[in-house]
């Protein structure tokens, strides 16, 4: 039986990689993929703790997280298509109309 702390450690590592991707990349698509990485890190933690407590509640919650990921990907990619049609760019730092 692998200690729960190992899984949580792995989850925090994957979360950090996702945060680095969100903060450093310019390409909006890769930022969206980094968000998927973060959601997967959350799922690892949820499943590890649900396993620890011998109940499926955490796994059900992970299912809801996956549902959210699907909704977020659909809307986010729709936004990217609209953005690309209007501005001909996928770089996050060129979308600065609201910047003062």
């Amino acid at each position: 039986m692998i200690p729960t702390a190992y899984y949580i450690m792995l989850g925090s590592g994957l979360f950090t990689i996702g945060v680095i991707g969100v903060l450093t990349r310019r390409n909006v698509l890769i930022i969206l993929m980094s968000i998927e990485l973060i959601l997967n890190a959350v799922n690892i933690n949820l499943v590890a703790l649900s396993q620890y407590f011998r109940s499926v509640d955490g796994q059900v919650f992970a299912l809801f997280v996956i549902t959210d990921a699907a909704a977020e990907a659909a809307v986010g990619l729709g936004l990217i298509i609209a953005l690309f049609r209007n501005k001909e760019t996928v770089n996050a730092d060129e979308i600065d109309l609201l910047k003062w």
Binding site: L37, R54, A71
Partner: protein, 169 residues
């Protein structure tokens, strides 16, 4: 011993391919590496006897969401973007911040100890039939959340169609 080896391999694959996702120049390569990550995470679910979640991970994430990503990348694929700088100007600050956050998390997990000071583990065997247990939880305890999630998917679908439409009237 064997679970430890499998866990080590799977987590190494997940972390390494996660790093590949955020460092690739070409977005299609990033997607391929993200699929590798998702498979490794699915393997970790399987290692914890979460078979249903493993199946959902493969079918929904790899089969559904990643294909959606691939379509959009093909749609907006820019040769110009490949030649531009891939990292934003504040990349160093972002990297340092993220690593600081990770250091805090790692320190806490290490400090609070191997037991993670979790409440005592309930006795008794783990639920035997994973899929059946999840199905019962979903349709009995979590009936209303499931309905809300289905509504969320409907709204997201309409939103995506509206966003990608050529012109808003």
């Amino acid at each position: 011993m064997l679970p430890y080896i499998v866990f080590g391999i799977l987590s190494a694959v997940a972390l390494a391919s996660g790093i590949m996702v955020i460092t690739r120049r070409n977005a299609v390569h990033s997607i391929i590496w993200l699929i590798v990550t998702l498979f490794a995470v699915g393997g970790i679910f399987l290692l914890q006897h979460a078979e249903f979640l493993f199946a959902v991970q493969i079918i929904l994430y790899v089969g559904g969401i990643m294909v959606l990503f691939l379509f959009v990348v093909m749609l907006v694929n820019l040769d110009v973007a490949l030649k531009q700088a891939q990292f934003s100007r504040q990349w160093l600050l972002g990297l340092v911040t993220a690593i600081l956050v990770f250091a805090q998390l790692a320190y806490l997990i290490y400090k609070i100890g191997a037991g993670l000071s979790l409440p005592a583990q309930p006795a008794g065997p783990e639920p035997a039939h994973n899929t059946q247990a999840i199905g019962q939880a979903l349709y009995q305890t979590y009936m209303l959340p499931v309905e809300i999630a289905s509504l969320l998917l409907l709204v997201a679908m309409i939103g995506a169609v509206l966003m990608a439409k050529r012109k808003l009237e």
